[in-house]
Symmetry: C2
Subunit: 226 residues, 2 copies
């Protein structure tokens, strides 16, 4: 794969991954803006502009003054490589080292920058070629392919529909710990008992337990499979 250029700094890698994540987020248009990017990375817009120029120089993004930012194919493949490492490490921490799913992200943010092609491939093998990380997000393959799964937001279900949790949209500690408290994890079956039109909240049954009301915000943060 001639795409993956290995002389990227820790920081450049973070920008590429951010751009990739933003391109997933803004589904239709995979473009991003300077401010959006800066906000995502926790830096000031001026800082993002500078880095953008550098990434453009290296042909990792296309962009012109006051215009939108788009990853080039090389930029995208590099971003995917980081995302792959991130999710493999999260899986390692979760599966092998007993980290909880709200703890893995922070450490994977560091581990994703370790440079060693052998390491990532061996890690994947050691984990038995997992397709999804602890949050249900797809783990890119070595060739850059990203597994897909059909999923909808819990909020999209109709009354009496049955489903299984497949991923979390919100990966914040607060949400993940709330899910743990509700004993919801990847694979948990949920039935929608009632939709409350007033505020968009739902009455749901978790793994056959007694009914429980969850907010619209909650229902829009959980991906399920019908």
């Amino acid at each position: 794969m001639f795409y993956i250029c290995s002389m990227l700094s820790y920081t450049e890698e973070n920008y590429l991954k951010a751009l990739l994540k933003l391109s997933f987020q803004n589904e239709d248009k995979p473009e991003a803006g300077t401010n959006e990017m800066a906000a995502y990375l926790g830096v000031k817009p001026a800082t993002a502009t500078d880095m953008l120029k550098k990434l453009k120089e290296k042909e990792l993004v296309t962009y012109k003054k006051y215009g939108k930012i788009l990853l080039t194919e090389t930029g995208k493949q590099n971003g995917i490589a980081i995302l792959r490492k991130h999710r493999l490490w999260e899986t390692f921490l979760y599966e092998k080292l007993d980290f909880s799913w709200d703890e893995v992200h922070e450490v994977a943010e560091q581990l994703e920058h370790i440079q060693s092609a052998k390491l990532v491939d061996k890690l994947e093998e050691f984990l038995n070629f997992p397709e999804f990380d602890p949050h249900g997000d797809p783990i890119p393959k070595a060739n850059g392919e990203i597994p897909t799964i059909d999923k909808v937001l819990l909020s999209e279900l109709k009354e009496n529909e049955l489903c299984k949790v497949v991923a979390v949209k919100d990966t914040s500690t607060l949400f993940l710990q709330y899910l743990e408290k509700l004993r919801i994890t990847i694979g948990t079956p949920i039935k929608v008992l009632e939709r409350i039109d007033f505020d968009g909240s739902l009455s749901i049954q978790i793994a056959g337990e007694e009914a429980r009301n969850v907010s619209m915000k909650f229902a829009e943060s959980l991906f399920v499979k019908r």
Copy 2:
């Protein structure tokens, strides 16, 4: 342990570990000089001087202009913490990911800087509390203790003495790959058949195989236990 201060940069950590390694190397006097340190780290003396001032400011080393450098207790404990991570990661790569013993060091140089107390302790547990890394070097415990083992250089043995390999002194790829070629690894039994006074070389028997001659340089690079 109030010793471990976590706000050390990647670079500061490398300086502390280098100082610790040098203090082991110069057994009697655990001091180091500026040039020695710079050479070890692959930077120029001027660079080392600057960093030294910073480490002194943080009370991680004691040192005065034109004087020798010594780690403070805090500096030492921080250095030990890095060394612990380095050796645990080397063990992980070797034991779990099938890295060879000449490949582990480079990647562990990166992994040793990952910040997460939970990670290192869980990793140690996952590896079953190993006492020695793939090169036979002791892995510091969480409390800073460093296991010891009595070992001598192969070159110190007399004719007809029997021993087992316990560690390598030289961890260069060239030496490690040579050992592999000779089918010598940690635990391999060796018998000294003859000492050649002319050049300090030895005739040895490796794991009961036929006799073989090894140089003085070789014999001074291998630690064994009688």
